[in-house]
Amino acid sequence: MQLETVNFGVVELDEKEIIYFPEGLPGFEENRKFALLGYDASLSSPFFFMQSVENPGLCFVVTDPFAIYANYEVNVDEEDVRLLEITDPNTVMTLAIVVIPENIREMRVNLKAPVIINIEKRLGKQIIQNDDSLPVRYYLCRD
């Protein structure tokens, strides 16, 4: 199918690649279908995009939280394991949503509510972590 996007123009997308979010994302409950897009197929770039399939203008920059935060850990409770049909932890992909403000040096990453994706079943959910030490706004470029 042809996926229309504001940022990347029209992208050719195999429908099997679409990730379904049964509950949408907090604040974007109506947007259930997303595709992961990147400039670099080799997976070497930790930044890529979660583009809404239904809304060409809705695109999140996402990153690999394990690559930016030492000892990052994610917990998924039983209910969400069921929702995402997770049977093997190796099929789980964890992403963190990035905010890029006008001053790009103030970019921040939401480590409190990572996006968890079952890459085999193509199911996803943004799951708020109970760990209070995880920041909602982790400023990547501040020391």
């Binding site: 997308l13 604040g27 595709a35 990147g38 930790p46 209910e79 992403l95 949503i97 990547l140």
Partner: protein, 131 residues
């Protein structure tokens, strides 16, 4: 067949009632809203049942702080409302990021990125860089 509920250990949530006082006007309008089913007073140590498997206990009251104990099946996510609202706000900020220049982002963040721990697997679709 017997239904067994797995209970988490009681988790303690400290809510600042100051914020609540600040929102007293808001509260007045809550009372008029149909989705507020019950407004009631509880003393320290007393409990409210929500449905048949959620217990809300007032553990302690000190000044303007109330400590609540929440006992619920593991399947129920318990979060402070502020956290959920904060996540919504942060998602909205993220969605309004414009003119994304990924190479600039990468340059700036380069020294902050560790080698991928290999915990993440998955594929993504490659798009052509336009410019």
């Amino acid at each position: 067949m017997m239904t067994v509920f797995l209970y988490d250990t009681i988790c303690v949530v400290t809510e600042k009632s100051r914020e609540y006082h600040n929102r007293s006007k808001e509260f007045a309008s809550y009372k008029l809203r149909s989705d507020i089913v019950l407004v009631l007073s509880r003393k320290k140590g007393e409990t409210v049942m929500i449905g048949h498997d959620i217990e809300l206990t007032v553990l302690d009251i000190q000044g303007d702080q109330v400590r609540l104990g929440i006992k619920a099946p593991r399947s129920i996510a318990v979060h402070r409302k502020e956290i959920y609202e904060e996540i919504i706000k942060e998602n909205q900020c993220a969605a309004s990021s414009k003119e994304i220049n990924i190479s600039e982002i990468q340059n700036i963040a380069r020294d902050k990125i560790h080698k991928n721990s290999g915990k993440n697997k998955g594929n993504r679709i490659t798009v052509q860089k336009n410019n």
